[in-house]
């Protein structure tokens, strides 16, 4: 059964800045304003048509309290209802999920969602992140965002050589995709014949997690405009429909020490529930593109198994076969993914934004060759906080 939606919601405008680590020439509202103008131009509407603005970033990463108030000179929220959302790394997707709910509910017809981060202004993101742990139970034990757990587990399951090769192949594939995307931050020009060299010589961060595997620290903003079906059809020639989305998070390793140990991670739980209620039995078959929040190449190959409900070495085999490549069974991250570009609270919004552009056929230099009708996008944050969203070209899934 599909989650009951009061009315359909379409994406009618998409705007993003170039993703970079050198945005010294713009302050925060100026950077946001660039994406706001791009989204309004993409939709062919003006600020007058926007009923509500939803704004979000990683809390305090730029050390500005209530940044949405100051940013109003760039967001265009003057005189409009405004919400601020900050759900960690997932923020960009939560902004879209919440905006979808605001429009579907009937509260607003046209909502503009703004996600941004300027990580070059943030002095110590690890300092900020570790403060999320409960001071009594966990803060004394808290580590940071870098971990080789995923690498260790994959190596234990599939052997060191196979696991390391798969992770590096995924990483190089992401870089090749980023190379086609002019907005991507890191485009390193990697080749598959560099695999052995990188596996040995990329600077180690922790255990088998090397610098080359890890996401970037980027500056950037993404803006999306969502509208009710009636308005969406008037505003846009090709609105992209938000079919359904789900949030799953678990905190038993963070501040709340009392949660039971669960048998599956939040990605698999999200995928299982979301696909079941939408009657999708074979996600590899169904989806034409998947934009995944993959903070490292190790997480990337591990999580593909979860998101597509695969078993054993099915996902790794697909890495080895090139099934996740642009001409494979399910193209993953034609944008280049998070290892290429990571302005955190824009990052998770760049996932549905990229899927929507692919569905519209407007992805430009990195447009997929195949027709894209059904898209999947994921956000990630917190300890394990998953947002998973299905986007559709056609309004034809009702009654599935």
């Amino acid at each position: 059964m599909t989650k009951k939606k009061n009315r359909n919601v379409g994406i009618v405008g998409i705007g993003m800045t170039e993703i970079s680590s050198h945005k010294e020439d713009q302050n925060q509202p100026e950077m946001i304003n660039e994406a706001v103008r791009a989204a309004l131009a993409d939709a062919g509407i003006t600020l007058k048509d926007i009923d509500c603005v939803v704004h979000g970033n990683m809390e305090l990463f730029e050390m500005v309290h209530q940044p949405d108030l100051w940013h109003m000179i760039g967001t265009g929220a003057l005189g409009k209802p405004e919400f601020r959302i900050t759900t960690g790394g997932t923020t960009g997707m939560t902004l879209i999920a919440a905006s979808d709910n605001l429009v579907a509910s009937g509260m607003y017809d046209v909502v503009m969602a703004i996600g941004f981060n300027k990580l070059q202004e943030a002095g110590s993101t690890t300092g900020g992140i570790t403060n999320m742990a409960d001071p009594l139970w966990y803060r004394h034990l808290q580590t940071g965002a870098l971990t080789s757990t995923s690498a260790n587990m994959t190596i234990e399951e599939f052997g060191a050589e196979r696991a390391r090769k798969a992770a590096m192949k995924h990483r190089i594939m992401m870089d090749k995709h980023a190379g086609l995307n002019e907005r991507a931050h890191r485009r390193l020009g990697l080749e598959y014949n560099q695999m052995e060299d990188l596996m040995k010589n990329s600077p180690p961060l922790i255990g088998d997690l090397r610098l080359i595997h890890m996401c970037s620290q980027s500056d950037g903003a993404c803006v999306m405009i969502l509208a009710s079906e009636e308005k969406a059809k008037k505003i846009s020639k090709k609105p992209v429909w938000i079919r359904d989305h789900i949030a799953v998070h678990r905190e038993e390793t963070a501040s709340n020490a009392y949660f039971p140990i669960l048998s599956e991670n939040s990605h698999r739980a999200a995928a299982r529930k979301l696909f079941a209620r939408n009657g999708i039995t074979n996600p590899v078959e169904y989806f034409d593109v998947f934009e995944m929040y993959d903070p490292s190449a190790w997480w990337g190959i591990e999580w593909l198994r979860d998101f597509f409900l695969l078993k054993g070495d099915e996902a790794i085999k697909m890495v080895e076969n090139g099934d996740w490549d642009l001409d494979g069974k399910v193209p993953v991250n034609p944008s280049g993914g998070v290892t290429a570009s990571n302005p955190i609270s824009a990052t998770a919004m760049l996932k549905p934004a990229e899927v929507a552009l692919q569905i519209r056929g407007d992805a430009g230099t990195h447009q997929l060759k195949r027709e894209v009708r059904h898209g999947l996008a994921s956000g990630f944050g917190g300890v394990m906080w998953t947002e998973l969203m299905i986007l559709e070209k056609d309004l034809n899934w009702q009654g599935v």
């Binding site: 020439d25 706001v36 103008r37 600020l47 265009g76 001071p135 803060r139």
Partner: protein, 157 residues
């Protein structure tokens, strides 16, 4: 960890914390030009929107009302303006730029549409009046901040 000394909260731990939060801020091209003009020419610049005619100081890259690009439309404002509102700071705190009591005012420069905040000096708090004319007094030494204007002082009639 400390325990609370209050008798009714006996044996309740209070966990001390201290956060180090270093960061930097990109002023941007537009904001930097404003500061450079203060520093090098002692001139206060604003920008005028050709569409709605609003004059912004501090300056913006794009008009917040109609999204028109305005950052090439610089206008030089005078150093004088009107005090549109003020408050007297009496609470002492380590981060404050002056010894209390001092006056924090909203100054609408001649020709500008948006007032901005600065220190008003050279007058006792009890004598300040909304509507009085004030004039920028520039700092002797630059700090590359808005405090390159040291304060606004009453204009002698």
């Amino acid at each position: 960890m400390n325990t609370c000394r209050n008798e009714i909260s006996k044996d309740c731990f209070v966990v001390p914390g201290k956060m180090a939060l270093p960061n930097q801020y990109f002023a941007g091209r537009v904001g930097s030009k404003f500061i450079i003009s203060l520093r090098d020419s002692r001139k206060i610049l604003g920008v005028r929107c050709p569409k709605c005619k609003s004059v912004y100081v501090p300056p913006l890259e794009y008009c917040e009302k109609d999204m028109t690009k305005i950052d090439e439309n610089w206008v030089e404002l005078g150093n004088e303006g009107v005090l549109t509102n003020y408050t007297v700071v009496n609470y002492r705190d380590a981060h404050l730029p002056r010894k209390v009591p001092y006056i924090l005012g909203m100054v609408l420069l001649d020709g500008a549409e948006t007032p901005f905040v600065h220190i008003v000096s050279g007058i006792e708090p009890e004598n300040v009046e909304i509507g009085m004319r004030v004039k920028a007094v520039f700092a002797d030494k630059t700090t590359n901040t808005i405090l390159d204007i040291d304060h606004f002082a009453p204009v002698e009639e």
